[in-house]
């Protein structure tokens, strides 16, 4: 007993206090989402009632096109994730496997470019896309198409970089064997590499999906129209300083929007942590 106290008690105390800190805001959102008054005010930290009112409001109130926002987020994040991984994996394959002049310099430039935080060039992106809008209203400022293009550009650097790491870890013998059997580089890519890398590509796709789903500022700048907003922008504009009025539906909305992301995240935890530490723990 004494030994247990000495060795383990502090561990439990630290863990419990931090768990309380971690869970407090989440607990609060959950109970207020079931509070029919929808008030930000907490009269008691123990839930007194259980009502689906706020959730119903999300799907019925014309002031909150929640389903449209959700659909927009899925479309934007989904297409960015899919397209960027398809294009990115081809580039990563070239950088990892093919020999060509300037490969090393190319990788260094890529490393430098992907370090530039997209947000720093935001005024330039804004001005450029405003000009694009003047001649191509479908893909300029204010459209989801334009936003997807800008996201794709931004995702390229990181995705190529990340995927190159994965490609490097696939044994070279396999594509060398394919080469001896007379396969061209393009065939090797489609018939050997893609099937082998499918699980990895799926992980990177999901990570890219989470990243895009979470993106706020470009979406805020691009999607002004109520019907074209993503869920992050929609909920932020909806709460927009008027916390006391719109808290209930906001709480319900943010819970529903978070569930898929949290689920993906938890199921990919292993890869995410490995990806985050790769290159550092090794060295």
């Amino acid at each position: 007993m004494n030994k247990w106290l000495k060795q383990d008690l502090w561990r439990h105390i630290v863990a419990i206090i931090t768990v309380l800190f971690a869970i407090f805001p989440l607990y609060l959102v959950v109970i207020s989402s079931f509070n029919s008054s929808g008030s930000l005010q907490i009269t008691s930290f123990v839930p007194r009632e259980f009502s689906w009112n706020n959730y119903k409001l999300l799907f019925t109130s014309p002031a909150i096109p929640y389903l449209t926002w959700m659909k927009n987020s899925l479309v934007v994040a989904g297409s960015v994730a899919f397209i960027s991984v398809v294009i990115g994996s081809a580039s990563a394959f070239a950088f990892s496997r093919l020999n060509f002049k300037g490969r090393k310099q190319g990788i260094q430039v890529l490393l430098l470019v992907q370090m530039f935080p997209a947000i720093l060039a935001i005024s330039a992106v804004y001005v450029i896309m405003e000009r694009v809008h003047a001649f191509a209203p479908g893909i300029g400022l204010g459209t989801q198409g334009g936003l997807i293009l800008v996201y794709l550009g931004g995702a390229m650097g990181v995705n190529i970089w990340l995927l190159k790491g994965f490609v490097d870890s696939i044994p070279k013998e396999l594509d060398e064997a394919a080469k001896i059997d007379g396969a061209s580089e393009v065939q090797t890519f489609w018939l050997i590499f893609i099937p082998l890398a499918t699980p990895v590509l799926a992980v990177v796709t999901l990570l890219s999906f989470i990243g895009t789903f979470n993106e706020f500022i470009l979406a805020r700048l691009f999607l002004v129209d109520m019907q074209s907003r993503t869920i992050a922008v929609g909920l932020q504009q909806f709460i927009g300083g008027q916390y006391s009025q719109n808290w209930g539906p906001f709480a319900a909305g943010s819970i529903i929007a978070s569930i898929p992301i949290v689920t993906i995240f938890l199921s990919l935890q292993k890869y995410i942590v490995n990806g985050l530490t790769a290159g550092s723990v090794k060295g």
């Binding site: 502090w10 805001p25 370090m115 720093l120 000009r131 992050a232 978070s258």
Partner: protein, 512 residues
């Protein structure tokens, strides 16, 4: 046989795809050129040519793989960076947004004054021999005429159809515009100058009234200057994007244009105290914020990792709850915290029994920002520290224990230094990330509290990147040139920090 069919099919698909892509791009390029966007149009043509050459010839196999990726990078990452560099050398702000030609045109169009009597006429808009024209009713003098931008045609009273107010509705040769086209016609007619008399012309005020006015400024192309026809003042290009009066009031003409001012945006930041002081204040807070975040998140994460670094009852439950803040979409979490810090009804004040106006006081707002970021960031360091702890060889710790070191000594002399060595690239990366943690600041405090009455742009919790955003989009004067200059300074700062971190993690060595 089968493979032949398949390769033929593949070729057809490839050709169709290429044709489709080139057609779409060609269309875009054409409309870009039509809008005088030569750089964008030119870029699109280069894209088309590169695509066709790459995929129709066997010139370069690697290019087949990375062309799409490179093109996207160039279009949406590299060119905005280059454009940022360019903008930072220009006087690019509200009032100086358009090009010089456009500015001259706008100054000319805006520069007129009504005649002294303030004469106005009822009019009808339409066309004369296919040209934009107006039918004017000078009711006082019972005279009617049609005017275009080139000539004025008197109309005998017998040839006009009047309404009850003696306003001409139509005339021989004059085609009134159908009612359903009126709204669309507004932009074609307003701004036009219809002939009246000598220096005076007619300008539309709405769709059925025209006033008599005369030009006040005239543009002298040879001297690149404007001359005021009434008082004789000359306005010259002041080299900074405006025409300015040569003497006297030194007044400038609106609008200006985006003119190159080279390094002025930068020098202003370092020499002009109105820009330098807020920049220094914001910079200091950015460094404090990023350092405090790294320190607190790392400390809490490490403490947890140490506490849970051994089989323990309930460890799995602890673990799965502890990563939740990291798994939640951060935009939602930050907004939720924003509600919790609400002064009137927020849970924090309720819980503490206080009545603190968190976001109205500079120090409380700063505290809140760091606290929320601790919540968002500690699970990351918990996860990576746990991983790093596993990577420390057990023999090392056992050897130290045998040599008589107590647990505290082992931690301080062996575990911590090793951990820091392993994790330092991640600590640096976290610092670089938080240096630009725009979402947190923007969504939680909006950079505030700030003293808007004094025209202050920088708020107490503004970090460099949110301050830049305020300059570019937030305040009444949008100064894109200055914002670009600050962006590039941030990039150089953060880039050096990141490069240093990468050096440390030796990623670059793996290239050889």
């Amino acid at each position: 046989m089968f493979s032949v069919v398949r390769s033929k099919l593949a070729f057809v698909v490839k050709a169709a795809l290429l044709a489709l892509i080139s057609a779409v791009l060609l269309l875009l390029a054409q409309s870009a050129l039509a809008q005088k966007e030569y750089v964008i149009g030119g870029f699109l043509f280069v894209v088309i040519i590169l695509t066709l050459v790459t995929y129709l010839t066997k010139k370069s196999i690697p290019l087949k793989f990375f062309l799409p990726g490179i093109l996207l990078l160039v279009a949406f990452v590299v060119s905005p960076i280059l454009y940022t560099v360019t903008m930072s050398g220009f006087n690019y702000k509200t009032g100086n947004i358009v090009s010089k030609d456009e500015a001259i045109l706008q100054i000319k169009n805006r520069a007129f004054e009504p005649d002294t009597a303030g004469t106005s006429f009822d009019i009808k808009i339409g066309t004369l021999q296919g040209k934009h024209a107006i039918l004017i009713s000078d009711i006082k003098n019972k005279s009617y005429f049609i005017s275009t931008t080139e000539k004025r045609v008197p109309v005998p009273t017998a040839q006009v159809k009047l309404n009850e107010n003696q306003v001409a509705q139509s005339a021989v040769g004059f085609e009134p515009l159908p009612v359903d086209q009126l709204a669309a016609a507004d932009s074609q007619y307003s701004g036009k100058r219809f002939i009246y008399d000598g220096a005076y012309f007619l300008s539309l005020e709405g769709l059925d009234v025209a006033i008599v006015a005369r030009q006040t400024l005239t543009y002298i192309a040879q001297a690149d200057s404007f001359k005021n026809l009434i008082d004789g003042t000359t306005y010259r290009d002041n080299g900074r994007g405006n025409y300015q009066a040569e003497s006297g009031s030194k007044a400038i003409l609106e609008p200006g244009w985006r003119a190159p001012i080279w390094f002025e945006n930068y020098s202003k930041l370092f020499t002009d105290s109105r820009f330098r002081n807020p920049l220094i204040r914001v910079f200091i807070w950015t460094v404090i914020f990023a350092s405090a975040t790294v320190l607190t998140t790392f400390a809490l994460g490490l403490l947890l990792a140490l506490a849970l670094n051994k089989p323990l009852h309930g460890r799995r439950i602890y673990r799965s709850i502890l990563v939740l803040p990291y798994a939640m979409p951060s935009v939602m979490s930050i907004l939720i915290w924003g509600g919790m810090f609400n002064t009137e009804f927020g849970a924090i004040n309720t819980l503490l029994g206080t009545h603190v106006a968190w976001f109205q006081s500079a120090n409380f707002a700063r505290l809140a920002v760091i606290l929320v970021n601790l919540w968002l960031g500690f699970p990351y360091f918990y996860l990576v520290s746990s991983g790093a702890l596993q990577a420390i060889p057990n023999e090392l710790l056992e050897a130290a224990a045998i040599d008589g070191a107590n647990p505290r000594q082992i931690f301080r002399k062996i575990t911590l230094p090793l951990l820091l060595k392993i994790l330092s690239p991640l600590l640096i990366a976290s610092f670089a990330f938080n240096f630009n943690n725009f979402n947190l600041i923007y969504l939680l405090t909006g950079g505030g509290p700030r003293n808007t009455l004094d025209g202050e742009i920088a708020g107490a919790t503004d970090i460099l990147i949110s301050y830049t955003y305020q300059i570019a989009f937030g305040s009444s004067t949008q100064d894109l040139g200055l914002a670009s200059a600050i962006s590039l300074i941030i990039f150089i700062l953060v880039g050096s920090i990141s490069l240093y971190g990468i050096r440390k993690s030796k990623v670059l060595e793996s290239f050889s």
